[in-house]
């Protein structure tokens, strides 16, 4: 009787103590992950401040950048008409171009990839062409597309398209070609028809490869959009940087670079996440 009573009494006292211990451990784990990057970033900022903090330095130090661009950081949504709009709108305009160009590249890239992965004839016919074309730098396509479309909007989108499509085609083709013999045998034993074979075996088996291609593709298109927008102008993060250079607003350029980096990172993660969701396994 007494022991039971003592247990009942002891338990509530024990629990918060255990809980706080667990919380402490969680905080320690979080610190172990977060501290190293914070330390390196802090160190680099300090180094930058020391190198550029003096009078007459060619680049502004971080403190200057923050002071100069505080207005842009605080209000990314202003719209004074023309190209004088907040960073949110600049980035949105660039993302729209990438979104359209990349989606077109994804659809046609996967279709072409499946084609050259499945058919040896198509592979022999198209692969040499793709191998040569994929080495052409994105911006080299711009004059041709400007001449063809006679408009800067579609030209920028075309540059994104042509940049992103090669890794998508090639990775999808590899994905289709590597389907293990066993899966084909299963399909044959079950007598799956062409349609079922494609949707039940080929597509799911090559999804991880497709998404590797899509991830590389989206990274490349984000690289290309900045360069393309510098040349074609209009609202967009690329032209914003070029405009900053022309107006000697170095702080704004540095802020834009940071934003470009973060968005690029997020795009990569989003594609990776969607890939995992669709494949139903880590890719």
């Amino acid at each position: 009787m007494t022991t039971i009573l003592r247990d009942v009494e002891r338990k509530p006292r024990l629990k918060p103590w255990l809980a706080s211990l667990k919380l402490l451990e969680k905080m320690r784990n979080a610190a172990a992950v977060l501290l190293p990057p914070l330390i390196t970033i802090g160190f680099l900022l300090l180094l930058w401040q020391l190198l550029c903090g003096h009078e007459g330095a060619s680049l502004p130090p971080p403190s200057r950048v923050l002071k100069d661009t505080w207005g842009l950081i605080r209000d990314p949504f202003f719209d004074n008409g023309g190209t004088d709009v907040g960073l949110f709108w600049q980035i949105l305009a660039s993302l729209k171009r990438v979104g359209i160009g990349f989606s077109l590249a994804a659809v046609s890239g996967i279709a072409l990839g499946v084609l050259i992965g499945q058919s040896t004839f198509a592979y022999r016919g198209l692969d040499p062409l793709f191998q040569v074309l994929r080495t052409v730098p994105p911006l080299a396509w711009l004059p041709i597309s400007l001449a063809a479309f006679k408009d800067s909007g579609p030209s920028a989108i075309f540059v994104i398209f042509i940049t992103a499509i090669w890794p998508i085609i090639l990775n999808t083709a590899v994905g289709v070609r590597q389907i293990p013999e066993d899966y084909r045998n299963i399909a044959r034993v079950l007598r799956l028809n062409g349609f079922e074979y494609f949707f039940k075996i080929v597509l799911p088996a090559s999804v991880p490869y497709m998404f590797t291609g899509l991830r590389i593709g989206v990274g490349l298109s984000w690289l290309a959009i900045v360069a393309a927008e510098m040349l074609v102008g209009g609202v967009g993060i690329g032209f914003f940087i070029w405009d900053g250079w022309n107006s000697s607003l170095l702080s704004e350029i540095i802020l834009a670079l940071i934003y470009v980096g973060i968005i690029g990172f997020l795009l990569d993660r989003v594609i990776g996440f969607v890939g995992r969701l669709i494949a139903g396994r880590p890719i």
């Binding site: 066993d182 299963i186 034993v189 007598r191 088996a205 396994r281």
Partner: protein, 264 residues
């Protein structure tokens, strides 16, 4: 000689860089309904080639295979294969892997509810009811092989073809699965051919053990009838004279008369 499955004068040669290579020649065998037959031989003796021909995955160069009076000339669900490396589709759960086969084979003859029940029934037969929603990556080697067997059984094949089904498993898991296969064989009265290179496995499971000579031009060397009553219990059976006789006959064949190339 006629059987439920008849392999008639089957030969197989491949074209290689150094000229044609004859893997199998003159293989004839008749298997009765409900019989469990093992094919044993050294690696490279063409056992898998023979199984692939019965499955219809590759065609014979000479001769023919007849199943239930019909010539085998393409793969089909009436000859379900349990592959050595399970070959489950990794993006599907255990249930979905079996269901894919069930839907394909019984899509027109069974309702969705019946197909669901049949899928579950077959997974229960291999004792995998607890892991219906697990993906192959989350299962152990033995469990994957169980699901592979369930998928093959679910097709309700005329003959079950097992291609070294326990080859990649550890000894304990292997013994468990052998017991399961014996139970299933007794319950479903299925006809089965199993490729193996394990003598004890062959004796324990089979009604007949077919011994293959070494390639090239491998053929059937000897056939050993295992006259042991079923159900067989591994511990009781292994002490009997019949077990010892069969074991000795197969070992003699493999290691005295057809010892593998000295180089190997």
């Amino acid at each position: 000689m006629q059987g439920y499955l008849t392999i008639e004068q089957v030969g197989k040669s491949f074209d290689t860089a150094t000229g044609p290579f004859t893997a199998l020649s003159n293989v004839s065998l008749a298997i009765q309904k409900g019989e469990f037959v093992s094919i044993i031989g050294h690696s490279g003796c063409g056992k898998s080639t023979l199984l692939n021909i019965v499955a219809g995955l590759s065609g014979p160069s000479t001769g023919a295979v007849l199943l239930d009076g019909q010539v085998v000339d393409e793969p089909g669900p009436d000859r379900a294969v349990v592959f050595q490396n399970h070959s489950l589709l990794p993006w599907l759960t255990a249930y979905a892997n079996v269901r894919l086969a069930v839907d394909k084979v019984f899509g027109k003859t069974k309702s969705a509810t019946e197909r669901d029940a049949w899928t579950r029934h077959n997974l229960a037969l291999v004792q995998m009811s607890h892991a219906l929603d697990k993906k192959p990556d989350e299962l152990s080697g033995g469990m994957r092989q169980r699901v592979g067997i369930a998928r093959a059984l679910a097709m309700q094949p005329k003959i079950l073809l097992l291609d070294e089904p326990f080859g990649a498993l550890d000894a304990l898991t292997r013994a468990h699965l052998q017991d399961s296969v014996m139970d299933i064989h007794r319950e479903t009265k299925s006809t089965a051919i199993m490729i193996t290179h394990d003598v004890d496995e062959a004796v324990l499971l089979s009604d007949r053990i077919v011994m293959m000579t070494n390639g090239p031009s491998a053929t059937i060397g000897e056939i050993c009838e295992v006259r042991l009553d079923r159900p067989r219990r591994r511990l009781e059976v292994s002490d009997t004279a019949e077990y010892a006789r069969c074991r000795k006959q197969v070992l003699r064949f493999l290691y005295e008369r057809h010892a593998h190339n000295k180089a190997a």
